[in-house]
Symmetry: C2
């Protein structure tokens, strides 16, 4: 294996304007999709890592990346990734920066970007797409890249190892997904400010493009608007398509219970982020109140501890970890292991626009036996990636280029 | 009332070296006590707000303060604080910055500093110490300075109003605390790296100075060290003093259960931060396993939602909100209302070294009827405050100067 030593780390504040109304939900009314980008410079290779924000404060994440990544300089990537769990822990548990979380907010977003850059460089240095690197690792090797602290009461390292090993024997049965491609779902038909007409037109286009699942943003001050639009979507897509409703944390518990009962009739596949993501017990109460209707949560859960609590409390039916918010690919995998233990499906939130997660869902299915559901698809930043995800007939075409598909065109001058 | 218009906001990155070993615990081995300071410039007045960090990344909080406080310029302080809850919400729920939390980490620390500066300026503009300003406000006025979103399932605004009103009638019975002063406890006898001898000597000095409660840092890799030192402290202070044991998040749930059983015999008043603060359910399990031994938690809970969950889950016997981590004085009061509803005592963590909290505990006792327990005392930054808290015979002497006692000497040039 050729040696690839990291000689420098740079951070880049990339912000992208969106078309009018795109990306807006009940809470985030004026987003500017942005990445706090880590670049690891290693000879002719660049490891690229992303953390996702909505614009304001993206520079704070970049500043944190610069401060927290210094120890990577001088490390060789193969050597770094052997026992990467310890490297991860050193950054995560820094005795001063830890105070700024712990394990949440700006410093955790920075960790996310740094960790993703390490995985990207590793995959590139081996000439493999990330999904194939992950599948190539021995269970012990993979486990050494993770940080499983504070999880022993529900999942020990030994159990995780057993889980990986036991699924190795049946991998071949699940490899077909590589050829078939992973199904996508279309988030962009129903942004919050879109008119009813726009939504109808978007749905027709979406069905034409092969999608069989769509998402509508809800959480209006006027619950009647939400209900009317949800039934409109159902009417337009027909009975067989899946429709997800995303509230983006807008409701109180009481509102959520009331509106969910009204929405039941249009048969939503899930209700997403009904209320504040820190409120595990409110979600538990809600989940019980509206069963068998399911909740989905995760895009704003800061770390594996919150996921553990949601799973223990049976407070959601789907988890939606996002590797550009959590501590990167490593913590995404830990959450996937936890979810598998509890028998809960993983349907990532794609702050990365699906670029990295298209790799991770293949790993989840093949190596962990997670059910194939679908992967969110958001097209708004396609033109900015050097290798945008290809979705054809509603299906992600498996990426083959080395790395994690994270490279962006025209990075701004390093900060 | 004279008009005080905010003409500028500045942020200051203040970091202070500590004596060897001071401030160190099982997790935070090398702290540099630091404040991200907000200054509101209003004629001849300066409103000062603090957020506390351990050094690294304090500049990130300062940068966030600058970005998030712009809307305060041009506002008159009396007008601003009438309906301050809405101002608070506008900063808290900014549709882009919210993504960096929500309501946690660097942006929430910045909010804390900004909010505290507003309260400080308000108190100074009225010529009142913060505790007296708080007691002077009518219940409706006070409620308008708070942001109680997502709490309706356990505490509505109407209930909070009733709580404030019902305690007004009996205030006089509790005013004696102003003259007597609020009792302190001594955190600094038992930092993690102090030798057994140093701890013994510190305890003797502490008892001489009138303290009747002390804290020891635990969370060693070697549980036997913790247990030995805990019994040593008990032996040194005698049977009647209270001894608190603080683990600073070091244990797993399993370790915590095992060590707590061993510690029971030295009769600790509480076990503080046994494991990761995001893990509500681990604390619930632990609290049940070690009852009647009590847990204390809060210095790292990012916001009122986590406190709500801890209280609902009966996962702790004491809450320790810190107004230099939470959204300042406003969110501290919300947490105090919640705790009162659940009958759980509030014993603040003092990232502010007790400067602001000496005001807030008086309010909590007199206006909310919270039990007087004691307030943490940490002397390491005394020389840097213009009006350091006075603790005599183990008791905080009630401050009389206008404001929140937050002013620091020699602020660095504004960032």
């Amino acid at each position: 294996m050729p040696s690839h030593v990291i000689t420098a780390v740079s951070a880049h504040d990339q912000r992208y304007a969106l078309e009018r109304g795109a990306g807006a939900d009940s809470i985030h009314s004026n987003p500017q999709y942005s990445y706090a980008v880590t670049q690891l410079h290693a000879g002719d290779l660049r490891g690229t890592g992303l953390a996702f924000t909505l614009g304001g404060g993206n520079d704070l994440v970049c500043a944190a990346i610069r401060q927290m990544s210094e120890s990577l300089v001088g490390r060789e990537i193969e050597e770094l990734m052997t026992g990467f769990g310890d490297v991860y822990a050193q950054i995560l548990e820094h005795p001063q920066y830890r105070w700024l979380g712990p394990h949440k907010g700006v410093v955790h977003l920075a960790l996310s970007s740094i960790v993703n850059a390490c995985w990207d460089l590793w995959a590139k240095s081996r000439g493999l797409p990330l999904w194939l690197l992950l599948l190539d690792l021995q269970p012990e090797q993979l486990l050494n890249t993770l940080h499983m602290r504070y999880l022993d009461d529900v999942l020990t390292a030994d159990e995780a190892l057993d889980m990986l090993r036991s699924h190795e024997r049946t991998r071949q049965q699940r490899m077909g997904i590589i050829e078939r491609g992973y199904p996508g779902y279309d988030t962009s038909i129903g942004w919050f400010q879109y008119s009813d007409d726009t939504i109808r037109q978007n749905i027709i286009k979406s069905l034409d493009r092969g999608f069989e699942a769509v998402k509508l943003k809800v959480g209006s001050a006027d619950a009647a608007r939400d209900i009317r639009r949800a039934y409109l979507v159902r009417e337009t897509v027909g009975e067989s398509a899946r429709v997800m409703l995303d509230c983006n944390q807008q409701w109180t518990l009481e509102q959520a219970i009331a509106v969910c009962h009204e929405l039941r009739g249009m048969n939503p596949y899930w209700i997403e982020e009904p209320t504040h993501p820190d409120d595990v017990l409110a979600h538990q109460t809600l989940a019980r109140a509206i069963a068998p209707l399911q909740l989905a949560i995760g895009e704003h859960l800061p770390n594996q501890l919150l996921f553990k609590n949601y799973l223990q409390a049976a407070a959601c039916g789907f988890v939606q970890p996002d590797c550009v918010r959590l501590g990167g690919v490593s913590e995404f995998i830990v959450v996937s292991l936890l979810a598998r233990k509890f028998g809960v499906p993983v349907v990532p939130h794609v702050g990365d626009m699906g670029q990295i997660h298209q790799h991770l869902v293949l790993f989840n299915h093949i190596a962990l036996g997670h059910e194939v559901i679908f992967l969110e698809y958001i097209p708004h930043l396609r033109s900015h990636f050097t290798q945008p995800a290809r979705v054809e007939d509603g299906v992600y075409v498996t990426p083959q280029a080395p790395g994690s598909s994270s490279d962006l065109k025209a990075l701004k001058r390093k900060m």
